[in-house]
Amino acid sequence: MKLPIITRLAILDLWHEWILALCMVLAIAAILTPLLVLLGLKNGTIQTMHERLMEDPVNREIRPARTLNLSSQWFDEFAQRDDIEFIIPTILRGSSVIRVTTSTKRLLIDLIPTDVGDPLILTNDGIIPNADECVLSYVAAEELGIKTGDVLNTEITRTRNKNKESVQVKLRVVAILNSRADALARIYAPFAFVNDVEAYKEGRAVYSRNWSGGKVLPPLSYDGLWMLLPQNLTAIDEINLTVNTGLTDVQRAYADEFQQKFSFFPPDNYVIYKLLAKGNPITTGSINIIKNKLRGKAAIILPFVDNVEITDANNIRVIGLSLSKSQTDILGLPPLPWGNFDVNTNFTNQGQTLLPKSISERYSTSILTSNVMGGKIKFPVNNQGASFNENIIVPIELIGILRTGQTNRIIFDQTQKTFLSVKTNYHGFRLYAKSIDDIPNLYRHFVAQDIDVIAQIQEIEKLKVLDQGLSKIFWLIAIVGIAGAMAALIASLYASVERKKRDIGVLRLMGLSCLQVFRFPIYQAIIIVVLSNIVATSGYIVIASTINLMFINEVGAKICALPYTYFIFIFIITIIISTLSSLLAAWKTTVIEPAEAIREE
């Protein structure tokens, strides 16, 4: 295929005056090459520093500046963010200190939870520990004189009921971290283990590890109290009931409303009150205070909840009711096997029920289900006989636990036959962003959430400022260089057209159009710049390799590097600039008349 005629003429003319063309190519390359090297140095240096920052997860770490109270739900939601590589709850310092004993030393060392994917471990020669394993920080290993593969004898101690108690645990050391990872003596252990250590140190039992201790029973909570009184309350009594009790409202109520809730009418001579604590649940503490305040008034207190739904297999309505024998007598009800409301009952007492007469013979136990935080909870209850109406009646204490279960995690422990509180709140976290570039954004996110955090944001900002500063310097130099190159190109092309006036006239005389000769200097400019780019890129490769070779020992990375896209970008930009530079010469060709070729000067 033949090139278009004007392109061919442009090339042949350059070839004819190849010395001039070569000088022009070298002149532009001489400007372009140092610019490329400068850009490469800027880019490579920033990239190396960026990688350095990236390499060390410490720079991607965000940690809280003060003790927080974060739910496991918060952690679940946060872990979904795609700018986060790893997040794990942390234990309060001091709550996870364990005693490590070697043949020569006894040391108290902090325990840090870790889990699969922990970059601090993975990028510092570590292995994520499994159950009964741990990873030591460099300092810890030094202080203890421990090597990878050794077994640590640890002791977890606590003071409970004024007695000193402890359990022994053996942990196998699977790795020792690089000294850069942690400046303190620390033991990294699986999250579950650290969590259990904390529970033990707080006095709780850890059944899965056979560590004894107290059960953490969920507290009871209610939405309000019904109160039956043989006489009206005075205004002073009413106000007194809202002082120091958590109650906000004392209302008169009607028998109908009471009947709807409990399926029986109160005695006619009793006044009905509804005691409410708007916004907050009523705790057992409040109930005790209220009971004390009402002493001597023969009040019957019936705690209630609004939105706890309990269902059995037959979908029969469940009513919570706890009354003493004397109270049931007053209300004209048969006595309840579990008796009066008792704050301190356990599940043996709570797990009882009266079934409607029609089915009470059929079941000795029923399985009840209720919705609590995190899903449904199922628990068995013992049938104690027939109810006095068509509802299932359970102790109100049971419903109080389930009411608590709506805002706090509770479980029903089958072996212990009890409800237990599950710990869902953590006091801190250890977080690593995917990239250091995500840090500023995450930082802002935490500030917006009102969580004070510490991050290496200054380091990242410093790098950005450096990058911007270097970019400015580069562009300053580039503009001067490009202006020079443009001037040289304009002069050269213009002079060339001036010199070739007659030749261009001949071309016009032979029939080339204005537009065709107009393209002549433009094409020449483009050809010169394409060649300059080739020379400059080759020059850059040589210089960059030399620089990198010179600094490889000191820096260990390429300090002069440019991505391929830059070359494409520079190529396009220089062609645009050269085209612009050639326009003056191109315009000059159009004013050359064919007659000028004929007329001899």
Binding site: E17, P594, A595, I598
Partner: protein
């Protein structure tokens, strides 16, 4: 007359330079097929001005008739009047050939590239060029660049280039100025041969009347006189 190709009547070209005015008046000029026309005169008499008008690159100031007779009659006067530069350029390109004083060859092209250029611009390929080059005895220098040719060789290449696209009229501006008498004679002979063989009109501008006289079918000269200090008039005359 069916051999008439170009006809001018009462054409005036007015030119001003540095306060002095020069007027060229052409009462009548007819160019016929195969004619070898000589235009002779000293410098400053209006030879180039006439050539500019004939070459369709210069617009006459007043003009009674300026017609080109091709397969159809083309009114050049009208084309100039309507500023149809494209049509003029097309005419130039297809029907006119030019031989300039020093050849007007493009220095960055070889002889062959120079010869092929006109055909190429006009979009056809002329295979006869090499044959013609042999006849003009320049086949040995086809791959050389003009700077390495002698003046005679250069002019021959220029002549060959001028006829390569088979124009109706070849305008030659002092083609013999840069060569010695013998070579000049040979060049004139070449032109003469081409005119007679192909029927192409040759308009040759020269100051050497004696050299061209034996070959010219028609010779034009100029009658120049100063009307005032600032006005010079020149009339084209048939000698």
């Amino acid at each position: 007359m069916d051999t008439l190709v170009l006809e001018l009547k009462n054409v005036l070209k007015h030119r001003e330079q540095g306060g002095a005015t020069f007027e060229l008046y052409t009462k009548e000029l007819q160019l016929h097929k195969g004619q070898f026309v000589a235009v002779v005169g000293e410098s400053g008499c209006g030879k180039s001005t006439l050539l500019d008008i004939l070459a369709l690159v210069s617009n006459p100031n007043t003009c009674e008739q300026f017609t080109y007779y091709a397969s159809e009659v083309i009114d050049i006067k009208q084309l100039w009047k309507n500023k149809q530069e494209k049509a003029l350029a097309m005419l130039r390109r297809l029907h006119f050939g030019y031989v300039l004083q020093t050849g007007g060859l493009l220095p960055f092209l070889t002889v062959l590239q120079n010869l092929q250029l006109v055909s190429e611009i006009n979009g056809f390929h002329d295979s006869k060029i090499i044959e013609l080059a042999k006849r003009l005895d320049i086949s040995g220098i086809l791959n050389k660049k003009p700077q390495y040719l002698s003046g005679g060789q250069r002019q021959r290449v220029a002549i060959l280039r001028a006829i390569s696209h088979h124009p109706q009229i070849i305008l030659a501006d002092e083609p013999t100025a840069a060569v010695d008498e013998t070579r000049a004679l040979n060049i004139i002979k070449d032109f003469h041969t081409i005119a007679k063989e192909s029927g192409t009109i040759i308009v040759m501008v020269t100051h050497n009347h004696n050299l061209i006289a034996p070959f010219a079918d028609v010779t034009y000269g100029f009658d120049v006189y100063d009307v005032s200090d600032t006005l010079t008039q020149s009339h084209l005359l048939k000698l």
